[in-house]
Structures are given as structure tokens and as C-alpha cells.
Amino acid sequence: MDKTGDIKKIKVNEKSELFNKTGMFYKEFPSDYRQIRYFTLLVVQMAPPEIKEINLLEQQVSELIKNAVKHGNKNNLDKKVKVWYKFETDYAHLIVEDEGEGFKNLDEWNTFNGKRTQCFLKQDFENMAQYVSFRTENSDDNDGGNALFAAVEYWNAGVVFTNKKNCIAVKKKFPRKRHGIKIA
């Protein structure tokens, strides 16, 4: 992810440190749309409670798995979603890979998100209405078209794709909680 001013971009960088799977846990799932939230819970249950932020971590992980199941693998039960994950009290790190053709519209998405962010920075909500939902020829009525907008904000240590763009790595750092006795 590149931060130019306040406009964040999702980058393609297969050599990013975020794709280093050393020490990460691994699960794989069939592309079963009905079970996306269940698969998410299987992953997120490993996270320490202090980084779950009620259910925000679950929601963000669910979006990544949903994108892989629905947009990547087109709900094809024969295709798998692979998830590598590691949670500590100060970070959450995930890699999600599908067997699809990759996110072909990434450049278009970055441009769209740039325009959207510019409207937001100017607090121009009239024009922002054009950029609230990113649609492609494959979008359907149940697609919000806004998951990645939240993802680039939530995953504050990076969002990056592989060259084929069918594998995304994300990381969020949480502030370390200080434990100790306050001396007056």
C-alpha cells in the first residue's frame, strides 16, 4: 500500500515481506458461500481478545474470504481458498489466496478510490455519491462494492497483491498495551 498524502493505493508486490509465511498457521476451505462466516470464525478464534475489537477483526477477515470465494473462485466448490494467518496482541497478519484469475480491475480501483478520497478530503459528499460503490461487469446486487475501501484503512501495515492478483496479504498493527504500576 502506498500513502500519497491521504490517498492510499493497493500495490502489486510479490516480494513484499507481507507474503513471508514463516511461522503462520494455515487453513484451506472449499468455496462455499454459505459457510464464509463459519470459515472466518475458524480463523479468527485464534486471535487474542484485545485485538478483536468486538467483531471488527472478524468482519475484515470475512471480507477477504468472501472476495476469494465469490469473486476469485466464483463460488466453485471444487476450488479452494487458502488462508495463512497469525495473530499476536500487537498485530494481525493474513494471506488469502484463491484459484481465480486475479483482481483484473486493481488499477481502475486505485483510480476510483483516489477520486473518492479526494471528495472525502474536500467533504464534497454530493460528488462522493458517484464513488461510494466500486462496480465491475461481474458485480451483482448483493455486492456492496466497498469492502476494499475499508480494508486499506483497517490494515494499517499494508495491503498488497501478488503479480497474478489472486493472492492478497494484509497486516494490521495494534498499539501495545502498557502494563505496569504508575508511579506518582
Binding site: 475489537e53 468486538i54 456492496g144 475499508a150
Partner: protein, 113 residues
Amino acid sequence: MELKIRKSGSIYIIDVNGEMDLYNSYKLKELILKMMEKKIQHYIINLEKVDYIDSSGIGALIYICSSIKKNNMKLRIANIHGSVKKVIELTKLMGYFPISNSIEEAISKIEIE
């Protein structure tokens, strides 16, 4: 997700109870579209009992919001809290959605506008 409708004068309040996720969010969209067909003008969506929303839920709210705006009807979204508020903030939609802190505030906003 459970949806209940109640009235305050000419304003219809839709109480949403449960999770607005990829499996449920279409229900709210369908309900409001049916109400719009009946030419109901004023809506409040009460999210007090919603503790989880995902991109499909946000998408449903965007769709409802833009449809109501196009038809010159009025909408307020009330009582967002917790991770629902956080997701709306992450998507930078706090200023786009017509948000009120309470039902009372939403009613007075609709009456003033």
C-alpha cells in the same frame, strides 16, 4: 435479521435487529423498496440492535440512501454504535449517510428539513 416497522406521525421507523451481513442485508433493501412503491415519504432506519455490519450491509444502506434521495424522500439512519460505526468510519461514509444519534433527533431532523 428481524425487521419491525412502527410509525411516528408520517415517519416510518424500521427497527433492525440482528446482523446486517452477506446473508441478510438484502431483506432491508427489499422492504424499503416495497415501502417506496407505496409512496411512503419519510424513513428512519434504527440500527440500535445491530452489532455487526459488513460490506453487503453497507452496500444495502448506500442503495437505500441513493434511491430515497433520487425520489426526493427523506431518510435518517439512527443509533449506529460499536463496530457498525467503526465500519462506516473506515469506509469514510459518516458524512455521506444521514446519521442521527437517536430516534428523537432523527424525527426532528426530518421535520425540519
